[in-house]
């Protein structure tokens, strides 16, 4: 039990008052000369029985009455939050709100979502607990916003649901920074979240630093977690994994790949109707889902409109979480893919040109142009999607053009020159060639889950392990390895500068260096994926995840074409829908990690806050029970009952008996 006025509990020793008065009374006895001693002696010999019990009961009733009074004025709260508010009213209360799509999960039987329930409960609870300052840090802005009162939370746009994922460590860091910057007094941090693993990122090293930071605060911080760990059993989610506009003679088709997933252990067969809405035309497809996840591959829908670009959405019937029941997409006529090949070795040029120029789809135009390093300044970069550069790293004017190209969204793959120099580009440089004379160097590991060497859509791995690397050039600088050779040297690495699409391949396609050209699958996939990604920056559509960093050249004012109407214009980037930003058509959806994200187990959560003053309570979406309620009335009632019992026991029954001897 916890109390709003816990310092009044200091009066609890008053419970001993009846005993003290009794003992004092015992000392203040009177002496009387008495004749009828024989009755007193007889009475003393009798079993005390109920008389003694009555005395004890009277004493207990008096003590109970005092205890009831003390507890009642201490304003007890009905909750399992032991120790809550034990230090009295906090100076600052920081509310950390998880607004991720998974928080829109509703309780079984309908009712409010987790987020709405949590906000309501927080408003009610914090209004009861009182505080000098109320600060809200929501998962979208991550900035502390002062609230006038907890009730303001109910009307705040910053408490509305979004489609963006949350970053709980980041939110708590913001809370820590606010506490430190404002030198607030005792601070309570209230976290409202559903404990999804992608939002909490428990493996992040930031948690350790965060714990230490919070522990270092002198004013003392208590963390209260209002958790909604209820999994959305049987909840379906829909996602468009691929969308292409394919020219089919004079007409055009839309080829869609739709991924359906069901949360929980249930793997029974289910019929799910998929509603497609494209250019106002609706199409329904019944899908027999026999496993989870289930993917509807390359479903073709004829396009009625002749427009080169448009948008649509796919919807499934309502279930526990409405936030993952639709998915927006945009499409346009494929942009021609053009690659620039800059090489110092003609053998390499040929293989790279072939890999870039052979189109993977008849509907897509691919081309490759070999350009000398000196001619880089004359290239029409605005039409280029991929740069393949084999030779000394660019410098001077060429470097400036390449950097602008990469910054614009283009992709570049750098291969080592014959003679590595000391040039550095994007914080990386080639060191020296290494021969694997005795034994061909083999690829030890590569990232099959993402990026250029990711597994195919069917899940099959690329034959990267079959590559033979006869010679490779060592790489130095800042980069993220995507494939590594035995011995630890990187084979393929991605620059860490500015989230760029700059890659470094540690060998060339020359047969003397590797089997990349002879076993061309890996090279072709590598180049084509890079070209496709680079071409995306040339198009006028963008498929974005809510909350992710926006491309640099987008205008500030957006026009909503589809999506929830209650979203504020400034918050369009975090709400799913289709938006028109300048000439760009943006389809924004929840991040992929939000689908089927597991829920953190209790032990893991406890570990994250180990050593901190941490209290957790689990709640349920739609549960209308009050989280914290003042319960002074039962104590007052107990006090009254105790007083009545005391009075009844104190009734002088012996007075009536005194008259009986006659």
């Amino acid at each position: 039990m916890s109390f709003l006025q816990p310092w009044l509990l200091a009066a609890l020793p008053l419970v001993a008052l009846p005993i003290i008065i009794h003992l004092i009374n015992q000392r203040r006895y009177q002496t009387v000369r008495w004749g009828a001693m024989m009755f007193l002696l007889t009475a003393n010999r009798m079993a005390r029985g109920f008389a003694r019990l009555r005395q004890y009961l009277i004493m207990a009733a008096r003590m109970l009455a005092i205890a009831g009074l003390v507890f009642a004025v201490s304003r007890p709260l009905a909750s399992g939050w032991l120790g809550l508010a034990a230090g009295g009213r906090p100076d600052t209360t920081i509310i950390v709100l998880d607004r991720s799509p998974s928080m829109q999960q509703k309780g079984i039987g309908g009712g409010d979502s987790k987020l709405a329930t949590g906000v309501h409960q927080l408003a009610q609870t914090l209004a009861t607990l009182k505080s000098a300052h109320w600060i809200l840090i929501d998962s979208v802005t991550k900035k502390p916003v002062q609230l006038d009162s907890p009730e303001a939370l109910l009307k705040s746009p910053a408490a509305e649901p979004t489609s963006a994922a949350s970053d709980l460590p980041g939110l708590l860091e913001a809370a820590y920074e606010y506490t430190q910057a404002n030198k607030s007094g005792r601070t309570d941090i209230w976290i409202c979240s559903d404990l999804r693993q992608n939002d909490w990122n428990p493996r992040s090293g930031r948690w350790q630093a965060l714990r230490e930071s919070l522990l270092s605060l002198r004013q003392g911080v208590r963390i209260n977690l209002l958790a909604y760990p209820e999994a959305a059993e049987g909840n379906f989610s829909v996602r468009v994994s691929d969308v292409r506009r394919v020219q089919n003679g004079p007409a055009a088709d839309l080829v869609l790949s739709v991924r359906l997933a069901r949360e929980g252990e249930d793997q029974s067969r289910a019929s799910i109707p998929l509603h497609f809405e494209i250019d106002g035309a609706r199409t329904e497809v019944m899908v027999e889902m026999d496993k989870s996840p289930y993917e509807l591959k390359d479903y073709r829908i004829p396009l009625e409109s002749k427009q080169p670009r448009s948008w649509g959405k796919v919807t499934i019937p309502a279930d526990l979480n409405p936030a993952d029941n639709d998915f927006y997409f945009a499409f346009e006529k494929p942009v021609p893919r053009h690659a620039i090949v800059v090489v110092e070795d003609n053998q390499v040029a040929r293989s790279l040109q072939l890999a870039a120029a052979i189109t993977p789809d008849p509907g897509i135009t691919c081309s490759a142009e070999v350009v000398a390093a000196e001619q880089v300044a004359n290239v029409e970069w605005e039409k280029v999607s991929l740069l393949l550069w084999q030779g000394p790293l660019p410098e001077g004017e060429a470097a400036r053009h390449v950097q602008e190209f990469i910054k614009r969204g283009g992709y570049a793959i750098f291969l080592p020159p014959k003679v590595p120099g000391d040039r550095e580009f994007l914080a990386a440089r080639w060191k020296s060639w290494t021969d694997s004379a005795s034994k061909d160097a083999l690829v030890a590991n590569w990232r099959g889950d993402q990026d250029l060497l990711a597994n195919t859509q069917s899940g099959a791995q690329l034959p990267v392990g079959q590559l033979q690397i006869h010679r490779y050039c060592q790489l130095a600088g800042d980069f993220t390895p995507l494939a590594g050779l035995q011995g630890g040297s990187p084979l393929l690495a991605r620059s860490t500068q500015n989230h760029s699409g700059a890659y470094f391949l540690a060998t060339t396609t020359s047969p003397a260096d590797s089997s990349l050209a002879t076993d061309g699958v890996v090279l072709y996939v590598l180049v084509q994926r890079a070209m496709a990604a680079g071409a995306a920056s040339l198009g006028t559509i963008r498929q974005l995840a809510a909350g992710e960093a926006l491309p640099a050249n987008l205008p500030d004012s957006w026009q909503r074409l589809a999506g929830p109407e209650d979203a504020l214009s400034g918050a369009y980037p975090v709400h799913r829908g289709v938006y028109l930003a300048g000439d760009q058509l943006l389809a924004i959806n929840r991040p992929m990690e939000e689908d089927q994200a597991p829920i953190l187990d209790d032990g893991r959560v406890a570990d994250l806050f180990a050593g901190l003053n941490f209290i957790r309570v689990d709640h349920r979406a739609g549960h209308i029970g009050i989280l914290i309620e003042e319960i002074w009335r039962p104590f007052l009632f107990a006090m009254i009952v105790a007083l009545i019992v005391e009075a009844a026991l104190c009734l002088p029954r012996y007075v009536a008996k005194a008259g009986s001897p006659s």
Binding site: Q26, Q30, V32, M37, T42, M46, R48, Q55, A658
Partner: protein, 303 residues
């Protein structure tokens, strides 16, 4: 009546004059030395016819009933009841517990009033009156005499006596039962803080000796009610150990013990045909004595 005209605190002349209107009767035949108001076990020369008896040689011929001889041709002697005086022995408990009560209105003060009044009334109607003061034993004893001057000695003793010592009432009553000549009126004035069984044997002993036993059981209202509020230390007025008790805790048992005692005492006095009167000290002693005398007047002649 009193030559020295000393006033006695325990005597109220007006009350005595009112009480004198009702004579003191014995409930059974008394054996006095002179003629009096009380029935005698022997035949005498009063005007109250008793019975006819056959003439035996030696009888006084003057007592032959000639009319009966004329009707039945047999000799009968006509006998009459004898009236005698009585010996009234007042047994006064002077143990320490008799000092209980407000100053000037203790049990002993009350007992003095009763004893003084009864002594006066008995002596006035020609009965012999004696006084025995009982504490640890028979403290003082004045044998019954019917001389009016004897009353002064009796009153003096009443005035001088003080509550002191333990109660040995049972032993003294046995002793008195043996020492007092048969067929006397024994009036016991005490708080009777003795086990009822012991008292019962005393009463039976006195009854066996054909005494007419009357008991005035003096109780103070506080002893009955026991309505103390605060913890008390009770000092034994008869010198025993003191008891510390919280009245709120012990009152219940005290009353149970008191009730059991009174119930047992009632049984004892009924079995012993004792003329028992429970007297609360706040009751007017004149009313108590009036009730006592009237009750005896109604029961006159009962054997």
């Amino acid at each position: 009546m009193f030559k020295d005209r000393r006033t006695r605190s325990f005597l109220d002349a007006a009350a005595l004059s009112r009480l004198a209107a009702v004579p003191l009767f014995a409930r059974r035949p008394m054996q006095g030395t002179v003629s009096g108001r009380h029935p005698s076990p022997h035949r005498g020369s009063s005007v109250e016819f008793a019975e006819y008896r056959k003439y035996v040689p030696g009888d006084d011929l003057r007592r032959l009933d000639w009319r009966a001889y004329g009707r039945s041709d047999r000799f009968y002697v006509k006998e009459f009841e004898a009236d005698t005086n009585l010996r009234c022995c007042l047994v006064l408990d002077t143990s320490g517990s008799m000092g209980f009560g407000p100053a000037g209105a203790t049990k002993l003060d009350y007992a003095r009033r009763i004893a003084g009044a009864l002594g006066y009334l008995a002596l006035q109607q020609g009965d012999a009156v004696g006084l025995s003061c009982v504490a640890n034993g028979l403290a003082r004893n004045i044998l019954p005499k019917r001389n009016p001057a004897h009353l002064i000695a009796l009153f003096d003793l009443l005035e001088e006596t003080r509550p002191h010592g333990e109660t040995q009432l049972a032993l003294v009553l046995h002793e008195l039962a043996e020492t007092i000549r048969q067929r006397a009126l024994i009036v016991i004035i005490s708080d009777l803080f003795v086990e009822p069984d012991l008292l019962g044997s005393c009463f039976q002993h006195l009854r066996f000796r054909r005494h007419d036993v009357a008991v005035f059981h003096l109780l103070e209202a506080q002893e009955m009610e026991f309505n103390f509020r605060r913890p008390m230390r009770f000092l034994d007025m008869e010198g025993g150990t003191s008891i510390f008790a919280d009245p709120t805790e012990i009152a219940d048992r005290y009353h149970r013990a008191l009730n059991a005692y009174l119930t047992e005492l009632r049984r004892v006095v009924l079995e012993s045909s004792v003329d028992y009167h429970r007297v609360l000290l706040d009751e007017n002693y004149e009313r108590v004595l009036t009730r006592f005398l009237v009750g005896r007047a109604h029961g006159k002649g009962a054997q």
